[in-house]
Amino acid sequence: MCDSEGSCHVLLLEDEPMILMDLEFAAEACGCNALCATSVKQAMKHLDSERPVRVGILDVNLGEGQTCEPVARELERRGIPYILHSGDLDRQNETVRSLNAQLIPKPANANHVISTAMECVGRKCG
């Protein structure tokens, strides 16, 4: 699933730029190539690009009522694993429950989030 340069593409969907940057750094430190998105639209664009996404890390609540659900469904459709990274365990409960994915509650260490995602695809990190 990794492309010719051997780098592993990780889709990061997170509407908070500082958290996104933190995850991006952690992904890079782990030898991955981070595809960063702050909205469903951007994430879908990454999915339609040439680069094969190996695993997704999705923030559940993307602000203004938007959730990661469409992206999660698309990843499921393509058989790409993903994990959820959310601080809102209650309000989005139904969305979270309907998605069959591991959930890491915020705030969490970025390295921990990345290495958990890597475990999903059988890669070791750091």
Binding site: D22, A29, D90, K106, P107, N109, A110
Partner: protein, 366 residues
């Protein structure tokens, strides 16, 4: 005498003054010659109808459009209508512009099926004001099993509904606050990490983040309890320490049910975080079978009241008392923190681990 009793003892003269309402059994019998009340039933009916604060009416399904044939005084009080305005009407006269058709549909269905139903619907008083009516409706049969009446009892639940709405709102607010707080801690964490990476001080950034996140976890547990003013410390302790308990078998929490002021949560939270970080680096949690027991008790009276938290490491590596026992930034943070809150900590190095007892005052003049 209460109003009810006066009302009841008055002879049947209700028709003279529409404001007077006669809910005596005689009156009911006059208008419903088929109905029989005798002995205990008569006494029961008379007194119950007059005294109950529950608004009650009977409707006659054998007349066109199910008119009300009897309504007690509480019904009049609740709706503000005189008896003459009530009797003969279908109950729907209490409905108004904002009444939801759904409970009305349920009622209609229950009447058709001769079922019992309880619905809440918005009704209107004579003066146009509205109230939430918890209405219980059900059929009444005679001794031959023939449908005689529909019985309706109504209760004004406006206050209950308002309280429910307020509680709901408070819960929503707490959730929103919780969400925003977690998000804020996440962003702070991101800033610290990113700065750390940029400046090449990642391990320092990590140390800062661990403290920030321990505090975040401790505060998180206080949200549910915030209205009570005092926080159940056990939840906070569990939240702070559980991430260190890899495999969930290296931590034993012994304490139970103490409430402490909000300020004590952050002191105790950060102290426990430092002890845990130290145990992970040098103490019991460097061993596979290492164990930490944490207990918390309330001690002392009035001004002397403290929460006493005992940290006991077991099966750790053989302890060599640090030459500089108070050294290390973690220990310094603990000592300073506790000094600020007039607390203290005693450390004893046993053969297989540290035993630390921290005391934080929780007395509050009230």
């Amino acid at each position: 005498m209460t109003d009810d009793e006066q009302e009841r003892s008055r002879p049947s003269q209700a028709m003279g003054n529409p404001k007077d309402f006669d809910d005596s059994p005689e009156r009911f019998r006059d208008e419903n010659p088929d109905a029989r009340f005798g002995g205990a039933s008569e006494v029961l009916f008379e007194q119950a109808m007059a005294q109950t604060r529950m608004a009650i009416c009977l409707c006659d399904p054998n007349k066109p459009d199910l008119p009300i044939v009897f309504a007690n005084k509480a019904f009049r009080n609740l709706t503000g209508y005189d008896e003459a305005e009530i009797v003969g009407k279908n109950c729907r006269f209490l409905q108004g512009p904002e009444t939801d058709p759904e409970p009305v549909r349920k009622m209609r269905q229950a009447i058709e099926n001769e079922d019992v139903v309880v619905v809440e619907l918005l009704n209107y008083r004579r003066d146009g004001s509205s109230f939430w009516n918890a209405l219980h409706l059900g059929p009444i049969y005679d001794s031959e099993g023939k449908l005689k009446y529909f019985f309706g009892s109504q209760w004004d639940v406006s206050d209950v509904r308002a309280a429910r709405a307020e509680e709901h709102y408070a819960r929503e607010m707490a959730r929103e606050l919780s969400h925003r707080m977690k998000n804020m801690f996440s962003v702070i964490s991101g800033i610290v990490n990113v700065t750390g990476r940029m400046r090449g001080i990642e391990s320092e950034a990590q140390e800062i983040n661990d403290r920030v996140q321990a505090l975040g976890r401790a505060y998180e547990t206080t949200l549910d309890d915030a209205s009570a003013g005092r926080i159940e410390i056990g939840q906070a302790i569990r939240a702070i320490l559980s991430p260190y308990d890899v495999g969930e078998s290296h931590l034993r929490l012994l304490g139970n049910g103490i409430r402490v002021p909000f300020a004590a949560v952050s002191s105790i939270g950060l102290v426990l975080h430092e002890l845990a970080a130290n145990a992970t680096k040098h103490g019991a949690w460097t061993r596979d079978d290492g164990l930490v027991e944490v207990d918390w008790q309330e001690k002392g009276e009035d001004e002397q009241r403290v929460v006493e938290v005992t940290w006991r490491e077991k099966f750790g590596p053989k302890v060599t008392i640090p030459a500089d026992a108070k050294g290390g930034s973690g220990n310094e943070i603990i000592d300073r923190l506790l000094r600020f809150s007039n607390g203290c900590i005693d450390r004893e190095w046993h053969e297989d681990g540290l035993v630390a007892v921290a005391r934080v005052p929780i007395w509050k003049a009230s």
